[in-house]
């Protein structure tokens, strides 16, 4: 099982064993990782699961699709490595992935 490390805005690290096929958002919610709201449950409808992807994994994670990109355009404090975690599906390739959660999703 791949391990995903969630890092709070204040630097606290939470390594979590994730299930292939689930998303980075779902793994966070099921493990009560703070900083991700995911109000819509993963429908790419609310932009409350924003994370920053570790630069080293940017290629493996890939680029956001149009819908996600336009949601991101309006999120707070967006950076070049911003993604909506409900759109990142976990696979063995992403073992070791590190994502940082913003202070607030609103």
């Amino acid at each position: 099982m791949p391990t995903i490390t969630y890092i709070d805005h204040d630097g606290t690290e939470r390594p979590i064993e994730a299930k292939n096929g689930e998303t980075v958002m779902e793994t966070a919610i099921k493990n009560s990782v703070p900083g991700i709201d995911a109000d819509c449950g993963g429908a790419c409808a609310c932009a409350t699961c924003h994370v920053y992807v570790d630069e080293a994994f940017m290629d493996k994670v890939g680029q956001p699709e149009d819908m996600e990109q336009s949601m991101l355009d309006f999120a707070e404090n967006v950076q070049a490595n911003s993604r909506l975690s409900c759109q990142i599906q976990i696979s063995d390739d992403l073992d070791g992935l590190r994502v940082t959660t913003p202070e607030s999703q609103h």
Binding site: G41, M71, F74
Partner: protein, 413 residues
């Protein structure tokens, strides 16, 4: 009333609002007992996918649950599933369970949700006539979703249309009957109604507006035909009713809490009893940006009121209120709705309807009050902010796609 010393909290209802209330209570530092009573067999799960990806078979059941079973154990939340509450005894601060026994409380959160409005016609009890609200409904419906089967959907609301899209994609023959003269008549404007009618017809759905169902006909207790008021008979292997919901207010009403098409609550999701809160579909609440009260059937509302109730109990500052929002997925079209369009006096369309990428903005006295955004997330998100700030935006500006929504939002800020 200060309830921050509460030791026993009972949450009645295991839907999105109840689940959120439980999570928020723990998040806000509540350390006392929590009992979640739910009448379904399953732990709290997301309902929206039931008429979308889950019904289509694209989402595994375990992905519907908000939290795994271990979370409830780890967080010392007792879950009483397949249980109903008989009565809230306010004088003695007890919740009586239908199977016997009771729970003492310092505070109660009523999150009893709503139930589908039953078809008020002859034949509604025939085999293969379904409604869609819970996991168990999908369990019954899914085995009948066979290519070539003839499905008649009663009601062209969001649930009915989403189910129609799934059924077509699974290869069923689908007829949608709508009593009103257009689809989604209760919730949106004619421009959006026409768009969805055309979309479904394009995908081979027989959409019939102004068609009143008279009765359902069967043989040996099994459905065979939907019979219109006009006398026309439509062969049907299954019927799915999606004609709206009824808020579950009976418990609150019997306890003497004021209800009017919903349990009446204040800004903190509190009922007239300072120890009793209510959250989700079952409530009538103040609508912050609209200077009126109303009942919202939505994920946003369930989450927000769950948080509000938990915060009020714990004496925390009231969480920021969001603009009401909704969404619907049909075929490859995502509709995102912000705000409430009721009472609008102007509709402004931005974008290209033919290209299936446009938004309908609703204004009242010059102010933006709502948007229906079709495959147009920027229009949705920017409008949320504009609605909350009470901004006036010129219709000419909204129509002009050479000005981005980001610029429009920035200019109005």
């Amino acid at each position: 009333m200060d309830l921050s010393a509460a030791k026993k909290i009972v949450v009645i209802g295991g839907g999105q609002a109840g689940a959120q209330a439980v999570q928020s209570l723990r998040q806000f530092g509540y350390e006392g007992e929590i009992t979640l009573v739910g009448d379904e067999a399953a732990l709290p799960y997301q309902r929206p996918p039931l008429s979308k990806a889950y019904m289509k078979g694209e989402l595994a059941e375990d992905r519907l649950y908000f939290k795994p079973a271990a979370w409830y154990e780890d967080n010392k939340v007792e879950t009483l599933l397949s249980q109903r509450v008989e009565k809230i005894d306010r004088a003695n601060r007890k919740v009586l369970l239908q199977h016997g026994g009771h729970l003492d409380y310092d505070a109660v959160i009523i999150a009893t949700g709503s139930r589908p409005r039953p078809l008020p016609i002859e034949g509604a009890d025939l085999e293969n006539v379904f409604e869609l609200r819970g996991l168990s409904d999908v369990e019954h419906i899914q085995p009948k979703m066979i290519p070539g089967h003839r499905l008649v959907i009663v009601g062209a609301g969001y649930i009915g249309l989403e189910a129609a899209a799934v059924a077509r994609q699974l290869g069923l023959e689908v007829t949608v009957l709508e009593m009103e003269q257009r689809a989604l008549a209760r919730v949106t404007s004619p421009v959006i109604s026409s768009f969805y009618e055309a979309l479904h017809m394009e995908h081979g759905v027989d959409v019939r507006c102004g068609a009143r169902l008279g009765s359902l006909k069967g043989k040996d207790g099994k459905l065979t035909h939907a019979v219109l008021a006009s006398g026309e008979e439509i062969e049907a292997d299954m019927v799915l009713a999606g004609i709206g919901i009824i808020p579950n207010v009976e418990l609150a009403q019997a306890a003497g809490l004021p209800c009017k098409n919903g349990i009446i609550v204040d800004e903190d999701a509190r009922t007239s009893d300072p120890r009793i809160f209510a959250a989700g579909d079952c409530t009538v609440r103040p609508l912050a940006h609209y200077a009126r009260t109303g009942r919202l059937e939505s994920v946003h509302n369930a989450i927000e009121q769950g948080k509000l109730a938990a915060a009020a109990i714990m004496g925390k500052p009231r969480p920021a209120l969001d603009c009401p929002w909704f969404w619907s997925d049909q075929y490859d079209i995502k509709l995102q709705i912000a705000g409430l369009s009721q009472g609008h006096d102007e509709v402004v369309v931005r974008g290209d309807i033919e290209a299936k990428k446009f938004a309908a903005f609703y204004k009242k006295n010059g102010r933006l009050i709502a948007v229906d955004a079709i495959n147009s997330p920027p229009e949705f998100i920017a409008s949320k902010r504009l609605i909350m700030s009470g901004a006036s935006v010129a219709s000419e500006t909204l129509k002009d796609t050479s000005i981005s929504m980001k610029e429009i939002a920035a200019a109005a800020a």
